[in-house]
Symmetry: C2
Subunit: 335 residues, 2 copies
């Protein structure tokens, strides 16, 4: 464990540079010399110090990921895509979980530093213009996953189209009184999430296209979570004229809606249709109709874009659109 590159050089009777060249697979070493050095390396059981390499080369061989609520199934699946991609490279994955606004801001400010990480992935949290400027200034390549921001690169899905898709599905099944359960607006704003907001926009857009006047009483917002969604959905179902269908901003929230229906003895899908969003693992189990988005791929593709930025010229700050599709299952039916 104590052998250094100098020990190797001495023992192999070559220069420091030559050993370094062998370690880095430089072609500027004669086969004979290379072999001699390799022999000595094996003999001394030498492994170059990663930490010294990082220091000398100025690279950390690290990719940082800032993920909000990384226990949410959708986020975990994105992380899996990221991890799998990185595991095939020699970059390590450093994870920052964000569950409070303070931590969001701290992470976005402190993590992107050249001496801490070579590249940064940000999931779902959209940096604000001022933050974009700071990020750019650090010189650390950043790729956004599941969100967009002016002047940044990333992958995303069209959540407006997704919200529209879910709502259209219900309208075409004959529903007219359609509710929406989404994230609390304060939370969305504090974290600067974009998806719940856009899904709501898609919901409204679909209603409008079909000439349905949106009923504000049908739109409920609360902290993201099954329990909170359950409470909101119960309110909706207890209205004098309850909706016959509900669009949820995520599968987790859709589960809350299903719970509320169960609480009140409302039959699914006979008396209430429910559409979720994300198509997480459990959705199939529950027979939940939902909007599928490529979660794993979003992570993997994000890493690919980051790699391009790491190993070449600055990548165009373009956003790549991933496809979505509606998966009809057992929680939706004709009105």
């Amino acid at each position: 464990m104590g052998a250094t590159i100098r020990d190797v050089a001495r023992a192999a009777n070559v220069g420091l540079g030559t050993v370094s060249r062998v370690l880095n697979n430089s072609p500027l070493v004669s086969p004979a010399t290379r072999q001699r050095v390799l022999n000595v390396i094996a003999e001394l059981n030498y492994t170059p110090s990663q930490i010294a390499r990082n220091f000398a080369s100025g690279k950390t061989l690290t990719v940082a990921t800032i993920a909000p609520f990384f226990t949410r199934p959708s986020v975990v699946e994105r992380l899996r895509g990221i991890e799998l991609m990185l595991s095939a490279s020699n970059y390590n994955l450093v994870v920052f979980n964000v569950e409070t606004v303070e931590r969001r801001d701290v992470c976005l400010r402190d993590v992107p530093r050249r001496d801490r990480t070579d590249g940064l992935l940000v999931i779902s949290l959209s940096p604000r213009p001022q933050e974009v400027a700071m990020l750019r200034q650090t010189g650390v390549p950043v790729v956004l996953i599941d969100t967009v921001a002016d002047g940044m690169a990333g992958v995303y899905v069209d959540d407006v189209a997704g919200g529209d898709l879910a709502t259209c599905h219900l309208i075409e099944l004959g529903h007219r009184r359609i509710g929406f359960v989404g994230d609390s607006l304060e939370e969305v704003q504090a974290f600067n999430f974009t998806s719940s907001r856009n899904r709501l926009r898609g919901y409204l857009q679909a209603l409008e296209r079909y000439g349905i006047v949106p009923n504000p009483a049908y739109q409920r917002h609360g902290i993201h979570g099954r329990y909170e969604a359950r409470v909101l959905a119960r309110e909706l179902l207890q209205l004098a004229e309850p909706p016959t269908a509900i669009v949820a901003a995520s599968d987790t929230q859709a589960m809350g809606v299903l719970e509320a229906a169960r609480d009140l003895g409302v039959e699914i899908p006979a008396s209430l249709s429910v559409v979720g969003y994300d198509d997480i693992d459990i959705a199939e189990y529950l027979g939940l109709t939902t909007v599928h988005q490529p979660l794993f791929d979003s992570g993997a593709r994000g890493v690919e874009i980051l790699f391009a930025a790491l190993s070449g010229e600055p990548v165009a700050p373009a956003h790549e659109l991933l496809p979505i599709k509606l998966i009809p299952r057992a929680t939706t039916a004709a009105c």
Copy 2:
């Protein structure tokens, strides 16, 4: 971004060592000098290079975690405990996801190196004696979470007791024909998981204590997963004399059992009782009776033990036992 400690020293008209002392909050600096240095630091907008610090101090300020199938809800929850604990320190969390045996072996061999990480957490994967020896040789402090190995420190739950607890619960409800759905023995062996095996042992132990002869046909093993468990459970339920209750080695597998029951029109809990293990988030939603274990705490406590090892003398290779308890819900009833 270009300022170095030497620039600061020059500008503040002090020595290198003094600046270093200020940075590290050493008491060996007079208040006046400290203030002067701090002013210059602010003026030059200087931040010490993390990478250089790491190199010079020989620390990586990194804790690595090797986690098998880190998308499984139980693993994610442990990771959350780990992340939250680390976020309060200045250690970063580097995650290695293990989904194949090859990667297990590679990670266990390559990750624990002093120049890569300061400490290592291993979730659920028990190192074999030979691996324990190698780990020890590296000098990297290691803490096991959810498993044990001779000569290593860690936190765990008594899975034998847990399997026993689940089975007793069923026996006391009057069940005698009790099935078990667990992980494939090859998979368990290849990864060297301990929990499924121990839960089976607890199941057998409980049967024996009550004088029930275990029926080998009632014990099924398959790759861990909902779908596989569903197939296994279907086999069990289609036996000439099917079990009236099933113990699953995890909540995920219990969900597969519930699906199988649904497939075959078997009423839960009227005709079949089901007990899971882990008490993951979704268990409550499903009304699944299960054995609760402190997932979050296991991660957090693992980090605490690791910190003790990092900042002091070698910790005793002791295993800390965390409590478990049975949570009776709606999937179990009297026979």
